[in-house]
């Protein structure tokens, strides 16, 4: 069984379009994350949700809007896509409550290409 899954795996779109990436985890974790990995492999946290509540919101443009309908899902919607949004986006999850540390489990990534 896939622990953290993302759809789609690849996404190619034109500048100015709006797109969404979906993430689901079946690990029963209470915290989920979105990361952006650029072409140099640098991994940067974008958002984190704990039990559907936003707890980390790094300096990300307002065009990016995360949505967590329940604690097993965290979707990422991007408006007015720009060339610089091209990257691989990773979803991750971890168990925070009752844990003394934070081991994260990552999805396979979504490669977004903006033309």
């Amino acid at each position: 069984d896939t622990a953290v899954s993302q759809t789609p795996k690849y996404l190619v779109t034109q500048m100015g379009n709006d797109k969404s990436i979906k993430c689901e985890q079946n690990l029963g974790h209470d915290t989920m994350y979105w990361y952006k990995q650029d072409s140099k492999k640098f991994l940067k946290i974008m958002f984190s949700y704990n039990n559907k509540e936003l707890i980390i919101n790094e300096t990300v443009p307002n065009r990016f809007s995360p949505k967590s309908p329940d604690k097993a899902h965290l979707n990422l919607h991007i408006n007015s896509l720009e060339l610089g949004d091209s990257a691989v986006y990773f979803c991750a999850s971890s168990q925070t409550s009752g844990s003394s540390y934070n081991e994260q489990f990552f999805g396979p990534g979504t490669r977004l290409t903006v033309l």
Binding site: F42, L43, N50, I55, F90, N102, E103, P108
Partner: protein, 116 residues
């Protein structure tokens, strides 16, 4: 402020040779330390972690890392690498926040390239 520095962006090494990937961190509080591995076109997976106790921790695939508090380092080592170890390796630091969660910072990554 919390930060993670991986001193080498790329490490080429011959098969069966030993390797060390270096990681230094800065933090004002006690932290938890991790190494993750990313194989081509895949997500990250945990290699090993240091939480407390023995400063030498062993992980999967024959890797180990040593926590050195005085030098704020957490270097990753393997005595004999295989071609299949070719991947990107990330050091990460996690510290608790006042809200009860954790903040995790990843290093920039080290590309390990094992040559035949």
């Amino acid at each position: 402020a919390q930060s993670v520095t991986q001193l080498d962006s790329q490490v080429p090494v011959f098969e069966e040779a030993p390797v060390e990937l270096r990681c230094n961190y800065s933090s004002s509080v006690s932290v938890y330390l991790f190494w993750y591995v990313q194989y081509p076109n895949q997500g990250l997976q945990l290699l090993l972690k240091y939480l407390s106790g023995s400063t030498l921790v062993k992980g999967i695939n024959g890797f180990e890392a040593e926590f050195n508090k005085s030098q704020t380092s957490f270097h990753l080592r393997k005595p004999s690498v295989h071609i299949s170890d070719t991947a990107e390796y990330f050091c990460a630091v996690s510290e608790p926040t006042v809200t009860g969660g954790f903040k995790t910072i990843f290093g920039a990554g080290t590309r390990l390239f094992v040559k035949a």
